[in-house]
Amino acid sequence: MQLIECPYCGPREEVEFHYGGQAGVAYPADPAALTDEEWGRFVFVRANPKGRFEERWSHAAGCRRWFTAVRDTATYRFSR
C-alpha cells in the first residue's frame, strides 16, 4: 500500500486514487484529419517503458483532481 502525494491534499493511501495512464497524450487538434491508423494509435497505443514514466492520477476518493506524477515502473517509486 503506497502513499501517493496528491498535490492538493498531500499524501494519501493509494486506494484513494485512480490510475489514468500515460500523461501528455494530447487529444488531436483535428481528429478528422488523421488516418485510421493514426487515430487507432492515439486511441489504443500507449508507451510502456521500464523506468521513469509520466502518468496521470486522479484523487478519486478525495479532491477529485487529476494530476501528473512521475513514477518508476520498475520500483513503483514516485519522484517527489
Partner: protein, 915 residues
Amino acid sequence: MTRVDGYGRVDRTRTLRFTFDGVSYTGHPGDTLASALLAHGVRTIARSVKQDRPRGVTAVWSEDPTGLVQVEEPFPEPMLLATTIELVDGLVASSIGGRGRLAEVPDTARYDRRYAHCETLVVGAGPAGLLAARTAARRGDRVVLVDDRPAAGGSLTGTERICGRDALDFVADTLAELRAHPDVRILLRTTAFGHYDDGFVLALERRTDHLAPAPQGLSRQRVWRIRAGHVVVATGAHERPIVVADNDRPGIMLAASARDLLHRYGVLAGRRVVVFTSDDAAYDAAADLAGAGAEVTLLDPRPVRGDSRSGDYRRSRGLVLGTGAGPDGAISHVFTDQGELPCDLLLLSGGWNPTSHLFSHVRGALRYDAELGAFRPGEALAGVTVVGAANGTFDLAGCLAEGRGETPEPLPRTNLVLWRTDGDPARQYVDLQRDSTVADIARATGAGLRSVEHVKRYTTIGTAHDQGKTSGVLASAITAELLGVPIESLGTTTFRPPYTPIAFAALAGRERGQLFDPVRTTALHAWHVARGAVFEDVGQWKRARYYPLPGEAGGTEDMDTAVLRECAAVRRDVGILDGSTLGKIEVRGPDAGAFLDMIYTNLMSSLRPGRVRYGVMCGLDGMVIDDGTVLRLDDEGFLVYTTTGGAAPILDHMEEWLQTEWPHLRVTLTSVTEQWATFPVVGPRSRDVVGALAPHVDVSAAAFPFMTWQDTEVDGVPVRLARISFSGELAWEVSVDGWHAPALWRRLIALGEPYGITPYGTETMHVLRAEKGYPIIGQDTDGTVSPQDLGMSWAVSTKKVDFIGKRSFARAENRNPLRKQLVGLLPLDPTVKLPEGSQIIEQTAELPPPPVPMLGHVTSSYRSAALGRTFALALVKGGHARIGERLTVPVGGDLVPVEVTGSVLVDPEGTRRDG
C-alpha cells in the same frame, strides 16, 4: 514432571487444566501448550505429513517446524503451533498428522483492524528494539513497539546483566519509561507479518486468546495497519540446527530453545542431554541445563578453547552422526564419531540466521556472510534500520549499542560453519515439516535444477507454515554443496509476507456479513421494505425489484406473476417507480453547452431551458458507455442523468476530459445524485395523478409537451416535473429533494389510489423499456456496441465537428455490416422464455458438429403482458438486415426457433406517449 523449582516466570500459584489427545493435564498461567506438555514429559505431539514419523517440539516459538496441533476448544482451529498457543483453562487440543481440520461451525469471534501512524516503528522488544524505542521516544517521536511474544525482553533469559542490573529489571524499567510517554504504543502478542511500501507494516495482534473466557466486545485478533516514517527491524535471529541422520525425532531441539524453556517456563526438557554445536552460544544452554540438574555432554567439532562459558557439563571435541529411538519413537541415544551416547534430549546448534524478513519484504538485498554462515542485510535501505541479531550482531553489548543508534565494533567470530555431518542423506531431514531430506535436494540438483527457488518448489522445502525459518539457509547451503558452488552465488529464497500464518478472518476484519460491502439505499428504502419489496443488488444499491402481493393459499406472488401484474397495471392505469438511484450531475458554467456537445454524440448546446433531450455517450473508441436524459436548467446550467451504475464513472469521465483536455472550458461538475429523488409516474392515468399533485400546473399535452420540464411547489416544497418516458407511456418524472422524498412519494401513492396506482420495481421497468426496444447500457451493451449497432444513428450528430468517439465511427470496422446489432427476438413458441446469455446460431433442425458459428447472444428476455407472449432483445451479427429471418437458439438440449424482429415491439407508432 520436568518442571524445575526456582526457574521460569510462569505463575505456579495458579493451576490451569487442559486436555491433549484426550488426556487431562495441568499447567500454569504463562505456559504455552508446548511448555505445559513438555513439563509433563509429553514429547511426541504430532506426526509428520508424508512419512507419519513422530514429531515433537523442535524450537520454542514461531520458528518451530514440527509442533503443529489441532485446537478444539475454545474454538476449533487447525494447524496451530503448540509453542505459540498460550495455555488457558479448558483448552482442548490434539495431535495431527500434518493436516488439520477446519471448523464446521461459524466463527463468532470479532476480528478488526486499526490504523496507526508513527515516526518510528520498532519491531521486536528485545534488548536492541527496546533501546531503539527508548531512543526514539526520548527524541519526541511517536513510537509503536511491537513484539510477537507475550512479554518483552526477546532472547533475554534473566541470567544477563544490563547496566549493572538484572536484565529483566532493565526491560521492566525501559517498558515503564516507554509507557509513560503519551505517544508510545506498545503492542505485545503482535506479529509484524508484512512490510510494504512507504513504511507500511501490517501486524497481527492476538488480543483475547490468552484470556479465558474471552471478554465480550473485544476483537479476538486485530490487524494493525501501521504507517511509519522509520521502521526499526529488531527481530532477532533464529538458531539453526546441524543436519544429522534421524534428526527429526521427538527430543531433538535447538539449544537456545531448551534454554528458553528452562528460563521462561521452568521446564527442563531432558535429564540426559547431548549438546552438539559449532557455536559458542550453545554453551550457555549446556551450562544452564547442567545447573538445573541435567547430565550434559557437549560435543563440538572445534578445538577446545578456554574462553567459552564453563559449567558443570562434560565437553569433548566430536561430531554427532545420527540418533536412535526408544519404543515411543523419541530419541534414546546418539551416534557420535566416538561411539554411542544415551540421552533423552539432543540439542543442536549450528549458528544463527538473522531474522531479516521485514528487511527483505521491501526488497532489501541480503548478503551471505561466510563467517556467520548466514544471510544478513547487505545494503542500506531508506527508512529502514536493522539492529541487533537481525543485523547479525549477536552479543548483548553490540545489540544495545545498535539499539541506541551506535555502530559497535564487530566481535571476532569463533564459530565454525557446519551444515551437516556424514550420514545417510535420505535420513537427514532439512525441512522437518515437509519430510524433505538431503536426498530430496540431491534429487532436485540431479534433475538439473540450479536455482534455490526451483529447488524449493521441487522439494517443497520452506513452503510449510514456518516458511523455512530454520531450514531455508540449510537448503541453500546443502544445494550449494551438492552443486559444488559457493552459497553466495545461489542466494536464498525470497522472504514474502506473511511472516507467520494469518487467518483469513483476521484479514477480512469487520468486512463480513452486512458490512462486507456498503449497501446503498434510497430515501424511500423504509417504504419499500414495509411494502414487502423484493430487492435486487444494482452495484452497491438495493433497488426494489418487484412488490409481490399476497397470493393464493397464503403465499406471495412469484416474480413472474408480480411483474406481469405490475406491467399490465402501468400500461392500463398508472404505476410509480423509485428511480432515485439514477446518477445526476449538475453541469454549470458559460461553456457547459460546448462541453456537453463533446461528451454526448448528439447536440446539447441547442437545448433550450425547460427542455429535455435524450443523449448517448461514447468512449474514444466510439462504443456506448452511458445514456440518459439531459435537462437544460438555465443558460449556464444542465442537469445530466446517468444510468445508476454510471453515476460515479461518468462523473470521473467528465472530470477527466474537463481537467486534463479542456481546462479552458468554464464548467463545473457537481454530483447531485442523492440531492434529488426521482419518481417516474407512468401510464395513461399519470396525467390525473400529476395533475392532482400540482393543481397549478397545466398538464395537458399542449401545455406540457413531451421532453419538457417545469418547476412547481407542493405545500411550498419545490418539485420538478419532467415529461420523460422510458416505457412509451404517458409519463412524468417527479423530482424532489431527498429530505422530502418519502413524504412526496406517500402523497403520490395517496393521490394515485383512485386511479389504481401500482408501485413497480426494476424488473417491470426493464420489461416495459425492452418492449419499446430501449437498451440498458451494460445489459444490452458490453463495451463493444456503438450507437449505430443499437439502431440509434438518430442520436448521433452529423453536424457537430467533433465529439468523443466521432472519429472512430469512420473506422472500417465500425462500418462493417456484419457487426452485432440490437434486434428483437420472438420465440415461435410464445411461451418459451429464452435464458439471457443464450447463444444464437443459424436456423437448423439439428445441431451441426462443432465448431458452430455463433451469430450473437440474447441480452434481455422477458414475458410481456402487453404482447401476451415472451420476447427478447439480442445482439446479432448483421442483425438489422436479418429482420424477418428465422434463427435458432440452443437452450439446454433443445433448439428453440426464433424470428428476428425490429427491437420496438409495443406501440411502434408511439401513439401512447401523449396519453
